[in-house]
């Protein structure tokens, strides 16, 4: 094993030195990413210290240091597979979306954001592990010219929020634990055999709600809180596109079942939208889809309305208390001519909500409206993107 570690010492020296040089070059080309580069350089410096330590361990003939290799890999994968490609290949469309999202994140109360890098490469994702202040955001390439599916980015902002405010996870965990502890207490009165089966099911349900699933649901709630009906509709759209059993509890999937997610989004909407025609229309479409599925006992235990209501209430309280800059989306959606008008001070959430209403009310007008709106916001950011 020592021979392998000796080889890795050389391997890491080369890769760490290359990363260092790349970061210096990128900073010269893109001074706007200074904060992000500084964070990467700081992580690099720590990894280099660890590399020196690894050299000493090898000198001491300690072959059991293989356990340190994943620590190196963690930084190297993050830098070379994610941050560096995004920074190296950052094009005009990425920079445009970066500006749009920086403004949107501030409007959502994410005041800690110092810099972001965006890579339009195919799927929505956020990397905040390096630091919540300088996330990497991945998004589909059509976001260069289209708002469709863009509300999903607010869900990604939610991942950044839970990274910055881990207390939210703690609070949600307490809510989940208390809910299932109550169920366990209630099961005490059952006869022995039934009680054992019930307790097992409850414990499995508790185990199902790990941090990752709680986070995914929190992100849905957060996104609907700050982006309103556009996110609710977008969640239904995602669920319908996936065409899977919306009540199926999949232990392999980090996301809760769609019926739970859509329900949580609806419950997170501001009450002023209860009678908003596009919300009613989306809700009816979703009910029609759900009616074609079969609810099951597992779903009813794991994703009961009592639990989901509790999580929505708890998450919204957390957002209000821990993220006071996040505004509960409550802008009424206008009708007809006014709907297509885009004033300069309009937020991305306003644009997405108007877009959703136009698409579902006057679909024939949507393409023109989207083109005009994109042109307008690009000129607002003074970017001539030729896209």
């Amino acid at each position: 094993m020592l021979e392998y570690i000796r080889a890795k010492v050389v391997d890491y020296a080369i890769i760490l030195s290359w990363i260092e040089q790349e970061l210096q070059d990128i900073e010269l080309r893109r001074p706007e990413h200074h904060s992000l580069i500084v964070r990467l350089q700081s992580e690099l410096a720590e990894t280099k210290d660890l590399h020196n330590y690894l050299i000493e361990l090898v000198k001491a003939d300690d072959g059991s240091v293989l356990s340190l290799i994943p620590v190196f890999e963690s930084f190297i994968v993050l830098a070379t597979s994610y941050y560096l490609p995004a920074l190296q290949k950052e094009g005009e469309a990425d920079r445009f979306l970066r500006q749009l999202l920086l403004a949107a994140m501030k409007q959502c109360g994410l005041n800690w954001i110092e810099d972001i890098v965006v890579q339009l490469d195919g799927q929505h994702a956020t990397f905040s592990r390096l630091s919540a202040e300088t996330p990497l955001i991945l998004a589909p390439p059509q976001h260069a010219v289209s708002f469709l599916d863009m509300p999903g980015l607010y869900h990604e902002f939610g991942h950044n929020v839970s990274r910055k405010l881990p207390r939210i996870v703690d609070i949600l965990t307490v809510a989940v634990s208390e809910h299932f502890a109550d169920l366990l207490r209630n099961a005490d009165s059952l006869i022995s055999k039934i009680r054992d089966e019930r307790n097992l099911a409850i414990n499995n349900a508790l185990e199902y709600w790990n941090i990752e699933r709680q986070n995914e649901l929190f992100c849905d709630i957060f996104a609907t809180f700050v982006c309103g009906p556009a996110h609710y509709i977008s969640c239904i759209d995602m669920a319908l596109r996936s065409d899977r059993d919306s009540f199926h509890v999949d232990d392999e999937d980090v996301h809760p079942p769609f019926s739970a997610r859509v329900y949580a989004c609806y419950k997170s909407l501001n009450l002023i939208y209860s009678h908003e025609p596009i919300v009613v229309m989306a809700q009816n479409a979703w009910k029609g889809y759900e009616d074609m599925q079969r609810r099951n006992g597992e779903f009813d235990l794991i994703c009961s309305e009592t639990l989901l209501d509790c999580l929505v209430g708890t998450a919204i309280r957390c957002i209000r208390e821990l993220l006071p800059g996040a505004k509960y989306y409550s802008t009424p959606l206008p009708c007809d001519e006014e709907l297509e008008h885009i004033p300069e001070e309009m937020s991305l959430a306003d644009i997405l909500n108007r877009g959703a209403k136009i698409l579902f009310t006057y679909p024939e007008r949507y393409a023109d409206w989207e083109k005009k709106t994109f042109k307008k916001i690009k000129s607002l950011y003074r970017l001539d993107l030729n896209i």
Binding site: S74, A125, H255
Partner: protein
Amino acid sequence: MSTLSSIDGKLGREEPQHRKFTLALIALRAQARGYATKLGLQEDKLEESRKTLFDFVVRLREALDQEIPKIDLRPLLRRMKDGKKPMQDWRKDLDALIAQLQLEEQVTDETISVLEDVQLLLAAEFTHDLRRLYYR
């Protein structure tokens, strides 16, 4: 529906714990095998390492008997339950480990061996998530 954000968040929570535990174990092992000075590990650093391992092992031992264990330890407990070593043996080993780490004496090879078992569990969870981000 991407899982990348979720994996990144999980790694972000696991990484500091994995790194801290691994480095502390390396330090105590170096002390037990007599090359701590060669690595520049002073007494305060060794003491800090012992405390890191002690605190973690105490939390893990408590979680074994909790009706609702702490959520961050649940993946580890799941790995313990799915492993070959009976839970009763884990309880016994962790109790002995806690007692040994409380002593001022240098840790024994037996202690190191149990700590390595715990480290393997931590590493298994961490590298499982890391593999989901990269690797052919």
